[in-house]
């Protein structure tokens, strides 16, 4: 009986891994412009041998591949960060933006847009960097405020996060009054999307993701302990405060990396860990890796829909994640209740 239980996560990971591979292939094969699978393979082959040329090559290697890979990295980062925050806060509604990263990144993006009054190339490089900085600084500020009295509990973090969020969001709106011309740019940025995907973005974000994901996977046992509550986790030898700082830093890195290139994409970080938990249980040794893979799959699929459903017109991917994910989540919930 216990053996069956041990096998289940392995099977799930294998299934998810296969699903991810299939999704990647599908994401590269389907797009606004139809490309025959044979041409896709040929284009990839030419890319590997460094002799890319022609329309299919540009489409596949220059446009679609970086976008699909970025979707995978962003989706995985958000879902993984969501799983970590949900464990730390023991709050099923915790999402990757819970510590005010949305408003911090938004303010950073706004400042970058204002600073680069013209739409030069510098702007498109500066905005993600500023958003990343804004997100990390905000989270540092929130954590610092929450631990002012030496304690660091979920309630203080949430309160500090909400307070800082409101303040920074107000600052952003205030700046918009003075720079209305940047409003559309800021708002689009906040709505999130993968239209800016490029190999350059991928080169920046992928290393952060790899570091964050690898680090988080070493925390799964401790995250399990956190399920018992701060005090009980302490009884069993966990330095709760130090661990919380570390885990927050990792989740924040993952979130900020995703936000900096894709803006605020909702739903994935909140729901994917839930879905995985409902199917595979709360053990983070299973939950974390499957959340990473699940988040990648969900965002690749959602982005596929976003860019193909009324092609050549694109719709924001956040709309897709919520529109498809919401009902699916409800279905999972009802199914769980029946059982």
């Amino acid at each position: 009986m216990s053996r069956a239980r041990d096998i289940r996560p392995a099977v799930a990971l294998a299934v998810l891994g296969a699903a991810l591979a299939a999704t990647l292939v599908a994401g590269i094969t389907w797009g606004a412009v139809p490309v025959a699978p044979g041409d896709v393979v040929a284009a990839l082959g030419r890319a590997l041998s460094g002799r890319s040329q022609g329309l299919a090559d540009t489409l596949i290697v220059g446009v679609r591949l970086p976008r699909v890979l970025l979707a995978a990295v962003v989706g995985a980062s958000l879902a993984g960060a969501g799983a970590i925050y949900q464990a730390l806060f023991r709050n099923p509604l915790a999402d990757p933006y819970i510590l005010g990263v949305s408003s911090g990144a938004g303010l950073g993006a706004m400042l970058a847009l204002v600073a680069t009054s013209a739409a030069t190339a510098a702007r498109y490089g500066l905005v993600p960097a500023a958003a990343f900085a804004g997100a990390m600084l905000t989270m540092a500020l929130v954590v610092r405020l929450a631990s002012w009295k030496g304690r660091l509990d979920a309630a203080s973090l949430l309160l500090a996060g909400v307070a800082i969020s409101y303040t920074l969001a107000a600052l952003t709106s205030f700046l918009m009054v003075f720079a209305r011309e940047q409003m559309a740019a800021v708002v689009y940025w906040m709505m999130g999307g993968l239209t800016g995907a490029s190999w350059a973005y991928l080169a920046v974000v992928a290393p952060m993701f790899v570091v964050g994901a690898a680090a988080s996977l070493t925390l799964s046992r401790e995250l399990n302990l956190m399920l018992l509550g701060d005090e009980r986790a302490g009884h069993l030898g966990l330095s709760v405060k130090a661990f919380t700082y570390g885990a927050l830093a990792i989740a924040s890195l993952l979130t900020a990396a995703a936000v900096s290139v894709a803006g605020l994409i909702g739903f994935v970080g909140l729901m994917v860990p839930h879905m995985v938990r409902m199917v595979l249980g709360p053990d983070h040794r299973v939950l974390l890796p499957t959340s990473f893979v699940g988040g990648a799959i969900v965002l690749i699929l959602a982005d596929m829909v976003a860019r193909t459903v009324i092609a050549p017109v694109e719709i924001p991917v956040g709309i897709v994640t919520a529109l498809i994910g919401g009902p699916f989540f409800v279905w999972l919930l009802m199914r769980g209740d029946r059982r």
Binding site: L225, L227, E231, G234, L236, D283
Partner: protein, 424 residues
């Protein structure tokens, strides 16, 4: 065995509390391998705080807490956790992990930073499940378990640590009787096998039954630990808990039995009458308790030590004329009763049989010429060959009130001496 004398947990001049606030000051206590030390005391006195000072959940303001001879502050959380197992009053498990993995969390302080549990770890988990009789819960999700089953798994989790010190914080409070005894028997066995156990008890009888030594925590202090018989006394209970109780050896277990009689706080204020009660053999005990609760000063007539009424009188802290067990009333006792009768506003003669040993109680009661309440009829209670019946008749001649039972006697006393709020 050497281990039996090892001090595994020690408080030395320890003041513990939260932040600046000290809850228990200057505590000194040693817990040795192989013994169970019980902590008892009123709610909020700081029993749990003393335990929490070991795990770092409460602050140590001054003094030291030592675990296995090392100051608590020198130990890393992992080192401390590998030495000390904790079972809290209640554990929360709002997640769907199987029992085995829940228990395996206890192995955390022993596991390497990277890598999973080894065969040793699995064996420890298996043993903890077996010891606590929870092997059948190993594959059930913990969020579907009853509070009692979860609590036993929490004990298993603490035992999976393979600790040398076990802290129990009212760990059995939420268990049914069977599981409570099962858990405490196990704890006793573990102590006998060399573990040092410091346990907070809610239930004094359980504390006495399972502890080698008991210490009372009250008023911000930790009193010195001693054997249950020495520590749990009627006086201590009155002082610490404000409860008057009958404390005696339990007839069955040989441990201490505590029968709370009344709470000081429940005694009515503002009534000052004095009542002398003639009882014996437990015939007047309920009345004495009711009258004390009603605010009267109650005096007992002559009673043999160990008599049920005498035990109650002592628990209630009442004055009575004490005579040796099985001895008849002597002149000294009769004089004492006579003095009591003079102080009394009302005298009550309970439904006690009269023999040669106690007939003087009735004589003094009747001759005192105070308002007198006689409970029941004398028929069938006179084992003196007529003396009791004649005193009874004399009393009736002088206007004594007769009532049917103790409840009637209580009403009569309130009517005669209780003032306006007699019917309360």
């Amino acid at each position: 065995m050497n281990a039996a004398t090892d001090v595994m947990l020690a408080y030395r001049g320890a003041s513990v509390g939260y932040g600046e606030a000290v809850v228990v000051a200057d505590a000194d206590l040693e817990v040795r391998a192989g013994e169970v030390v019980g902590l008892v005391g009123p709610n909020g006195a700081g029993k749990s705080t003393l335990l929490r000072a070991v795990t770092g959940d409460a602050d140590l303001r001054s003094g030291v807490v030592e675990v296995a001879g090392r100051s608590r502050s020198e130990l890393s959380p992992r080192e401390r956790a590998s030495l000390v197992g904790v079972v809290p009053q209640q554990v929360s498990a709002a997640f769907s992990l199987p029992g085995r993995e829940f228990v395996e969390m206890g192995r955390h302080p022993h596991l390497p930073r990277f890598g999973g549990p080894s065969e040793t770890d699995r064996a420890a988990v298996r043993q903890a499940l077996e010891l606590t009789g929870t092997t059948n819960l190993a594959s059930r999700p913990v969020d579907a378990l009853s509070g009692g089953d979860l609590q036993r798994l929490a004990l298993a989790q603490a035992l999976a640590v393979e600790p040398r010190v076990l802290l129990l914080d009212e760990a059995t409070a939420h268990l049914d009787l069977n599981h409570r005894l099962q858990v405490l028997d196990l704890v006793r066995d573990l102590a006998d096998a060399g573990m040092a156990v410091l346990a907070v008890f809610h239930d004094l009888e359980l504390a006495a039954r399972y502890s080698d030594r008991i210490a009372i925590v009250a008023g911000g202090r930790l009193a010195g630990a001693g054997t249950p018989e020495r520590v749990i006394t009627a006086e201590a209970l009155k002082e610490v808990f404000g409860v008057r109780a009958v404390v005696g050896p339990d007839a069955v277990t040989g441990s201490i039995s505590v029968t709370p009689v009344l709470r000081d706080g429940a005694v009515a204020r503002g009534r000052h009458g004095t009542v002398l009660v003639v009882g014996g053999g437990g015939t007047a005990a309920p009345l004495m308790r009711k009258l004390v609760l009603g605010g009267f000063t109650v005096l007992g007539a002559a009673l043999n030590a160990g008599d049920a009424d005498a035990v109650l009188a002592e628990a209630l802290g009442l004055e009575y004329a004490r005579i040796e067990p099985f001895a008849p009333m002597n002149a000294e006792a009769a004089v004492t009763v006579a003095r009591f009768a003079e102080r009394a506003d009302v005298i009550v003669v309970g439904p006690v049989p009269f023999g040669r040993g106690n007939i003087d109680n009735l004589l003094v009661a009747v001759r005192a010429r105070r308002p007198l309440v006689l409970v029941g009829a004398v028929d069938g209670r006179d084992f003196t060959g007529g003396a009791a019946e004649s005193y009874w008749a004399e009393a009736l001649e002088h206007g004594a009130v007769t009532v049917e039972d103790l409840a009637g006697a209580e009403r009569a006393v309130f009517a005669l001496a209780g003032g306006s709020d007699a019917e309360q």
